[in-house]
Amino acid sequence: MSGLALENVTKEFGSFTAVKNVDLTVPHGTFVCLLGPSGCGKTTLMRMIAGLDLPTGGAIKLDGTDITRVPTHKRELGMVFQSLALFPHLSVGENIAYSLRIRGTGKEDQKKRVDELLSMIHLPGYADRPVSKLSGGQRQRVAIARALAISPKLFLLDEPLSALDAKLREAMQVELRQLQQRLGITTIVVTHDQREAMTMADTVVVMNGGEIRQAAAPVEIYRRPADTFVADFIGMTNLIDFTTDSAGRVTVLGTAVEGLAAPGGLARGVLSVRPEDVHLTAPGPGAIAARVTFIRDLGGTIETFVEAGDKQIVAVSMPNARPDVHVGQEVGIRLSPEACVVLKS
Amino acid sequence: MRREAPQKLSDYGPLLFPAGMLIVFFVIPFATMIAVSFFKRDPAGFYSTAFVFDNYARFLSLFFGKVLGFSLFLAITVAICCVVIAVPFTYLLSRARRRTQVVWLVALLSVLSLSEVIIGFAWSTLFSRTAGITNLLVAIGLMGEPVALNPSFGAVLTAMVYQALPYTVLVLYPALVRLDPTLTEAARTLGASPVKSFFTVVVPALRNTIVATLIMVFIFALGSYLLPQILGRPQHWTLSVLITDQAIYQSNMPFAAAMAVFLVLVTLGLVALTLIAGRKGEAA
């Protein structure tokens, strides 16, 4: 099959297991983000795909060929490093032409390709500039162009936008995604920024402790997290312990949620409820009793913090639906069953 | 790039030439020297093979004791003089503008690289009766007539301080450059004068560096072999001079080797002391 396949890939450093039995297929032309907190093994996984680290177990296949032991320089890939790793002793054009030059491409063809790539990244005429004279965003683009010079089979980016400021980063995310769609190149990005992953990826792969916790489309990751780690890591959420009563109804904080049943007769677990799905009403039967402790008005959204028992719950509302409450007020919370994700604790 | 352990034998290739050169031309000569120190002197050639302790036994003479004592005393005096001058000097240097620093560093390196022969010659000129510093004093009327200032202990000491001072500054320089400038600024805001903040903040913060520098300059001064000859009298000769003298002029290589081995032991002992001082510094 065409694309990248990881089969049972494992990497141990001494007694520490950085990557544990990872299985993943990346179909040709898709954009995948490896997402997770630092130390989750995402960078190690990418370095193994690039051949910079060798797995201690499992296999890596590209278009059906086993490349597990193929040295990096024979893998025909393009990679953008976190530090960008632009060669300080070479000009912009020489940096971009590097992979062509060492393959013995003719001077004329090199120049043509460099010009092509420079106009692709909106930096025409920059070929003779030293890389030290570029701004952060320009260096970023040059690193991307350099990685794409040979039209690689695989485009890898390790935290590529982490050095940019927030505004520029958002713009580059969109640009990168559009570029990838235009070229139709199989792309893998390592990031710890979930917004970045949600913006760019066809498939988000959430990792923790060296394992894949969930691999799915961004919306599914957000709406249907596979476990409490994913639910908590992606966006804001309220994780509330529940028990199941004798009638099979899910009960949280002493109140049953109407119309919600735990699958497979789960006796206890955790509910994940996104803050925008928490609705504040007047206290009364069927509503969880709570008290407002803090209100954060961010302009675009309003976050209302309430305490139910000893549990803190956050509700987010739009300005046009601003809840009419004040700190210290007793309120009720109603959870709609379709908004709740039932997870094992 | 991860630093991998060498996988194949050919990965060791680059090590071949350097390792070979260092073993053949440093380790083996060193071992030869140790071996020779147990050999017997041969007036006709260099030495004859034997195994005797005679060369070491000669250390026990009064003459040798005096030379050793004087060598150590001279080296310690030089080290103290250099550190006393170099610590405030390097501190000021490290706070100067970058351009100023570079100019000073070029000057210091130029003096440091000067041959001992040249330093000896320059100072013997400066201390001479005909072209020396006393001519200047005569010219401005402070002295009646010019005098020769060498050979003398003062001349040897001055020239050795001159030789070792650039070295001292360059040893101290990195530590002082890295010294956090906000330390003295903090002391200043607490009411210390610049001089007071130098002695109460900079010097204590550098205590271990200063001790290590003292020992390094001491070793450096111990190696001086020409200045005592050119500027001093025979009673100012040091162990290094004696080794050269025995090896070249008395053709007694075994005894020279024995003294050299002894000098190595003294040096290594001091290096060990430096390391211990350094380790304590890290722990503190």
Partner: protein, 266 residues
């Protein structure tokens, strides 16, 4: 007031460092062959003497040749060693780093005597090429330290980036590593060259009776009396050292180079 005192202190140290050289410079322009200061008359003929008098010219030539060859040899020893230590993880190989630094750290008379006994034992005593090897070993510390510093300042992701773009180890060394350590290569050579030019004891003990380098020549001349050529040679040497270190400072980062040198020494 404080600034004035600081300036004064720096000035006094500067005077101390330059005074002997000022006097020697003065002596070197004396018209007659006398040791006099302030100089009597003015003449640059003693500088010409270095190049016209065959004895001095040969000594200068011998010194420059020795310095050029031994510094190149020192570099040839230091470069692969520093590269290996940077590229590979082999803790035991650090022993060679230590061996490379030892000759320069020990009192020079010891290295000199060790080499003397070695050349005497192997029967090559007095051959001019033994001086080149001896100096290379004695000064290998300098390029080794500058190159170790140079390698450690290379961002390792540059090497990885080159590999992902299709470069093998050899190509990476040629196209990435070598251009980046070139300044350190040059300064390592410069340091070894200048110090070899000035070195006396090792040269004297190994080839002192067969070959006259300039420091040996000066010392011999010093014992048999005075000639102003000694002064002009001294000034020439100071000028060469200042010029070379000035160039290193101009094209490299001298404070950084020195920052690490003393570090490794310690």
């Amino acid at each position: 007031m404080t600034t004035f005192l600081q300036r004064l202190f720096l000035g006094v140290v500067g005077l101390f460092l330059s005074l002997p050289l000022i006097v020697v410079a003065g002596v070197s322009v004396n018209e007659k062959q006398t040791l006099a200061f302030p100089p009597q008359g003015f003449s640059l003929s003693w500088y010409g003497e270095i190049f016209t008098n065959p004895e001095w010219r040969n000594a200068l030539l011998a010194s420059v040749t020795l310095a050029a060859v031994s510094a190149a040899l020192a570099l040839a020893i230091a470069l692969p060693l520093a590269w290996f230590l940077w590229r590979r993880h082999a803790p035991w190989a650090n022993i060679f780093q230590l061996l490379g630094i030892a000759p320069f750290t020990l009192p020079p008379v010891i290295t000199a005597l060790g080499l003397l006994t070695f050349w005497a034992t192997t029967g090559f005593y007095g051959q001019p090429w033994t001086a080149a090897i001896s100096h290379a070993i004695f000064f290998v510390t300098l390029p080794l330290v500058t190159l170790s510093l140079g390698f450690s300042s290379i961002d390792r992701s540059l090497v990885e980036a080159a590999a992902t773009m299709g470069a093998d180890d050899r190509t990476i060394f040629r196209t990435v590593v070598l251009p980046l350590i070139l300044p350190y290569l040059v300064s390592g050579y410069a340091f070894a060259f200048v110090l070899s030019l000035n070195e006396y004891i090792v040269a004297y003990m190994t080839v002192g009776f067969t070959m006259e380098t300039l420091p040996i020549k000066i010392f011999n001349a010093l014992r048999y009396g005075y000639t102003p050529t000694m002064a002009s040679v001294t000034i020439l040497f100071v000028a060469i050292a200042a010029l070379i270190f000035g160039l290193v400072a101009r094209f490299g980062d001298l404070p950084k180079l020195l920052g690490a040198m003393a570090n490794n020494d310690r």
